[in-house]
């Protein structure tokens, strides 16, 4: 889907990245100033790097070695900006029709109604952009981008300017988009939560270089990247499906590690979900624990132990076919005599497992 190579020497910094992914949704994750936005701008056509070969869905948009440079308006990339950028002199409907009109010669019948329905825009169609909330504006921007019939969507920190409550309002729409449209997407973000919820592949970018790229679960389960994510964000992602909603308010999810219990979620029984298990929330025990209030007790064996900072290590455990990371202090490492190959029990409170996502 995406094959992006780019080199550029700025005054103080340099950018040298090669991002390659066949996933439907690719996330570029990294701190601000890492070079993600330069990459998006080069794709969009508003930044001309010294060297670049950018291919999206098989189409070469920019190749400085062969002087190929598709003009911005023919690139057909639906860009969704942080600040929505709805045309202030048109209504919501006007904005959507604009994309339909200039996006492509061929108009698809019924596409307008479908997009309005998909993003729940019926109620705001005749309003001016200035009267919309941040979340509504962003939904209109997404609808507008889709109606231009792009070959891919570029989401440049689409949620950054929106407060947490409004985010929860948009994310279901983005997930729906991902499910219902076969449209490749690049998501730029510096919020790991958004990345985990939306993406399949991820490329970590820092100081103008790709630190790591690959499938989301593989990248997040890599213990060596704990320094990149920091002690509060490091954690593996495991996949499973909803087995039951128990009457006591617990949802049971089957994973390869065993049953995962968490506070009730609204996802249908049978649906696939993605659970993020933060390394700081995982406890390790050499004996099978009994009499604990924690509902998730899984069995696994240690694959590797990686130093993480001065006080502790990241332990990579294999449970079933999934990897789970756990932060352990040096003191516990000694006390439990943890070593590669050792069998352990992992303990996770159900309340630590929140917010699983339909994958």
């Amino acid at each position: 889907m995406f094959d992006l190579r780019l080199r550029h020497q700025f005054n103080a910094a340099s950018l040298d990245v090669h991002v390659c992914s066949d996933a439907r949704v690719l996330a570029l994750f990294g701190p601000s100033g890492a070079g993600k936005t330069s990459l998006i701008k080069a794709l969009e056509g508003s930044f001309a790097p010294q060297f670049a070969v950018l291919k999206v869905a098989g189409e070469t948009l920019l190749d400085t070695t062969q002087s190929i440079r598709v003009p911005t308006y023919r690139r057909r990339l639906g860009v969704i900006y942080q600040d929505a950028r709805l045309f202030p002199h048109m209504t919501v409907a006007g904005n959507l029709r604009y994309a339909e009109q200039f996006g492509r010669a061929k108009k698809l019948n019924g596409a307008f109604e479908e997009v309005v329905d998909l993003l729940g825009l019926e109620r705001v169609l005749h309003q001016r952009p200035a009267t919309l909330s941040g979340g509504e504006a962003q939904r209109v921007a997404i609808g507008r981008a889709i109606l231009s019939q792009p070959r891919a969507l570029l989401l440049d920190e689409p949620l950054a300017a929106i407060d947490q409550a409004r985010r929860e309002e948009i994310i279901p729409y983005l997930l729906r988009l991902k499910r219902e449209l076969s449209l490749p997407m690049i998501l730029i973000s510096h919020d790991l939560n958004d990345v985990v919820r939306l993406t399949d592949d991820v490329a970590l970018i820092d100081e103008g270089r790709v630190v790591k790229q690959g499938a989301l679960a593989d990248v997040l389960a890599n213990p060596e990247l704990s320094q990149f994510f920091g002690s509060s964000q490091t954690g593996a992602v495991i996949n499973g499906h909803v087995v039951a909603h128990h009457p006591d308010g617990i949802t049971e999810i089957a994973t390869s590690a065993g049953s995962a219990m968490l506070a009730q979620i609204e996802t249908k029984v049978g649906a696939d979900v993605r659970i993020r298990v933060l390394a700081k929330d995982v406890m390790i025990s050499r004996e099978k624990p009994i009499g604990l209030s924690a509902l998730n007790i899984w069995h696994g064996s240690i694959v590797s132990i990686t130093p993480a900072g001065a006080r502790g290590v990241v332990v990579d455990l294999k449970c079933g076919s999934d990897h789970i990371l756990a932060f352990v202090t040096n003191r516990s490492l000694q006390a439990l005599a943890l070593e590669v190959g050792a069998a352990c029990w992992l303990v996770v409170k159900s309340l630590s497992l929140t917010d699983p996502q339909i994958s």
Binding site: E44, Y73, R76, R85, F87, H89, G103, A130, A145, S148
Partner: protein, 229 residues
């Protein structure tokens, strides 16, 4: 006295309105184009164009008028060329239009440039990402967004054209019915004994015209804001 000269007064008023209107209508599209070039396009000679555009604003109007006379007069470089095509500026009302347009031009460009500088380029980038070419983008996004600036430029240019004196009188003199606009008529009547009552009339009409123009622009501006521009 007033009764004797009233045809000449009304001629001057009518001519002023005609000259100012035609000058504004002709110069405005060019001003929009030049302002767009100066703010959005990087090209060789941008500094030179800026100087040329703003020169009439800083030059003494008489100098501008004399330059026009040299270039567009019947013996002038451009003037003799255009005369072959049947276009004559010298001592005609069209010459007064040219002088008024050139004097008002920098004011128009400046107002539109300010609007372009203030308008968010992000909207243009968004339109391009949706598939709008540069021209479509200019017509559908840029132009409506800077409409208040264009209106301001038009009002300024119109007011300047109504009041233009130095360049006009130097270039096309003050021929009643041909090139005698309100300012040159005022100047003429000040030179004649007992001309003051006529002058007072002309001054009153000038004030009235200015007030009407200001009110019109205010109403138009309000209407634009209401449309959400």
């Amino acid at each position: 006295m007033i009764a004797d000269v009233s045809p000449q007064v009304w001629q001057a008023v009518w001519l002023s309105l005609k000259v100012a209107s035609v000058a504004t209508v002709c110069a405005l599209p060019v001003a929009v184009l030049v302002a767009y070039l100066l703010t959005r396009v990087v090209f060789w000679g941008r500094g030179l164009l800026t100087v040329v555009v703003y020169l009439p604003l800083v030059l003494p109007p008489v100098v501008t008028g004399y330059a026009l006379l040299l270039m567009f007069g019947s013996n002038g470089y451009v003037g003799s060329l255009l005369a072959d095509l049947g276009i004559v500026f010298a001592f005609r009302w069209t010459g007064a239009v040219l002088a008024a347009a050139i004097m008002g031009f920098p004011l128009m460009v400046r107002a539109i440039q300010q609007a372009l500088d203030a308008s968010d380029k992000g909207f243009e980038a968004a339109a391009a990402s949706l598939g709008a070419s540069k021209i479509i983008c200019f017509l559908t996004i840029t132009l409506p967004l800077i409409a208040p600036g264009i209106l301001a430029g038009a009002i300024l240019g119109f007011a300047k054209a109504l009041g233009e004196f130095g360049a006009t009188i130097t270039f096309v003199a003050s021929i009643p019915g041909q090139t005698q606009t309100i300012p040159s008529a005022i100047y003429n009547f000040l030179q004649i004994p007992n001309g003051e009552p006529v002058v007072m009339w002309l001054v009153g009409i000038s004030v009235l015209l200015s007030v009407v123009a200001l009110a019109a622009s205010e109403l138009l501006g309000r209407w634009m804001r209401k449309r959400g521009v």
